[in-house]
């Protein structure tokens, strides 16, 4: 049976919400930007008027103001955006239980089983589009198709406030002329490789010899070839489905550059506390710690090392992170951003190969201590109990890294699997 899949994309999401709440700026070019004082001063989203003036997502505020001097710059309100995202989801759930989020403002809906109740995919899409505008005051563009990849292309095809249908009858005529860089997973690295083979459109990719694509890009190439031909068999996950957590990480662009090891230690400690707390929340321990470093010239690198025993202790994670930093990185230029990631995860109760050299008694005591800290923080707030080092520089340690965390998501859950014996 042919599936009916919708991909819903809230248009210029942050900017639309800000324009709704402040009618005075609605007819002006608006950009929602990070805090320049915290060195997050880039354009996160812009409205349609700003887009026409040449404002682009990711631009620094001064660049955006150069492109559009009348630009109204608004601070983000993540709490409100998350609330809006949940309200939109509530509307989706009125039509199906198979709703899979793709970021804060996008979602796939499998409405195959709802068509007898609510009508065709296009009718459901139009009903959702109208309800989101009347109940939430923002516009949405929805793609309707028989697979997730084409549904996503549909939501990008016509914006704002539109529904686009790609059926098995019309997809060659409508999708194939589109630039191949619009296809999911064709990014800055893949598009030039495809261009070298003369592939500029999705149609050219679809008709290209799959063996040559495999030679060029490996399994990902075969996957893209299948996508271009509408052969995407992935299901829309049910609403309560949770992907397996593969890693837990946190990074920060600090208020000022990190110039010495003390600065790095404070930041790594702060980030490790957040990573360790999230590991404990999910009942996980990590075996490997990875650090991410980016200097003031925006040159970045990642380094990693293994822990002697699986751990969710911030002291152990931060300690190893600092050791990696000292031994595997040449600290020459000041650092702009830094991150800690716990990977190679296992359940906190898994069997462990014991070592004579590791003090398990001390680890157990430290685990109890950090769990007690979690309890105090949940009752009295993050800053109710802190390490002494955090008080030495509030610029670096003065925010709770667990707040305002919007986690990136991917379409592929697990390794790439393609059909056809590749």
């Amino acid at each position: 049976m042919e599936k009916t899949i919708l991909h819903s994309d809230l248009n210029s999401f942050y900017a639309s919400v800000e324009c709704l709440y402040n009618p005075r700026i609605r007819d002006k070019p608006v950009a929602v930007c990070g805090d320049p004082a915290a060195r997050h001063g880039i354009v996160l989203t812009k409205n349609q008027i700003a887009k026409k003036c040449g404002v682009r997502t990711g631009q620094a505020i001064w660049q955006a103001k150069q492109a559009c001097p009348q630009l109204v710059v608004v601070k983000p309100n993540y709490e409100r955006y998350l609330q809006y995202s949940n309200l939109a989801r509530e509307i989706y759930f009125d039509y199906t239980d198979r709703v899979e989020n793709f970021g804060i403002d996008e979602a796939w809906l499998d409405v195959t089983g709802s068509s007898t109740l609510f009508g065709s995919g296009e009718e459901i899409a139009n009903a959702i589009r109208k309800r989101i505008f009347s109940e939430l005051g923002v516009t949405v563009s929805i793609g309707v198709s028989f697979c997730k990849v084409f549904a996503k292309l549909g939501s990008d095809y016509k914006k704002p406030d539109a529904v686009t249908v790609f059926s098995k009858e019309n997809y060659k005529e409508k999708i194939w002329p589109i630039s191949v860089s619009e296809l999911l997973y064709v990014g800055r690295a893949t598009a030039p490789k495809l261009a070298k083979c003369g592939i500029y459109t999705i149609g050219q990719l679809a008709e290209f010899d799959v063996n040559l694509i495999y030679g060029l890009l490996g399994k990902v190439g075969v996957l893209l070839h299948q996508y271009a031909n509408g052969l995407d068999y992935s299901d829309v996950a049910a609403n309560d489905a949770q992907g397996v957590i593969k890693s837990v990480g946190n990074s920060a662009t600090t208020h000022r550059d990190l110039t010495d090891e003390d600065d790095v230690w404070i930041t790594l400690t702060m980030l490790s506390e957040s990573v360790a707390a999230r590991l404990r929340e999910n009942g996980l321990k990590c075996k490997t710690v990875q650090i991410y470093l980016r200097d003031k010239f925006l040159i970045s690198c990642e380094r990693q090392a293994k822990l002697p025993a699986p751990s969710f202790l911030s002291t152990e994670i931060a300690g190893l992170a600092m050791e990696i930093f000292r031994t595997k990185y040449r600290f020459i230029e000041p650092l702009r951003s830094i991150g800690v990631r716990a990977c190679d995860l296992v359940s906190e109760n898994c069997a462990v190969q014991m070592s004579l050299l590791y003090d398990y008694h001390r680890q157990r005591k430290m685990e109890n201590l950090e769990k007690a800290i979690d309890g105090i923080r949940s009752r009295h707030g993050h800053f109710s109990i802190q390490k002494g080092i955090m008080l030495t520089d509030r610029d670096l340690s003065g925010h709770n890294p667990k707040e305002n965390a919007i986690h990136p998501v991917g379409l592929l859950n697990g390794p790439i699997s393609v059909q056809g014996g590749f």
Binding site: L20, Y21, N22, P23, F133, S134, E135, L136, G137, V138
Partner: protein, 90 residues
């Protein structure tokens, strides 16, 4: 009857917040019964014609919109989370 209500935070200048006395029924339905104006005057809500989830493009916001009649005038009363604001019904 309708004077200017309180304006909200400076980033939402056009929103007219108002104090409401409401009735919470045992099945969870909330119905506004009375508006309390800034100067302390109280206006009883004579009729609620409809209740629906709705965005307010005029004031800026969204919530449950009650179409209310007060002394033969119609107005929209919005309940957005734990605050109430009103606008003229046209």
């Amino acid at each position: 009857m309708v004077a200017d209500g309180r304006t909200s935070a400076k980033n939402e200048p056009s929103k007219k917040l108002v104090v409401v006395i409401a009735e919470f029924s045992i099945d969870g339905v909330v119905k506004p019964r009375m508006l309390v104006w800034e100067d302390g005057r109280r206006f009883e809500i004579d009729q609620i014609a409809s209740m629906q989830k709705c965005a307010s493009l005029k004031s800026g916001g969204r919530g449950l919109r009650y179409t209310c009649r007060i002394r033969n005038r119609w107005l929209y009363l919005f309940r957005e989370d734990d605050t109430w604001f009103w606008e003229c019904a046209q």
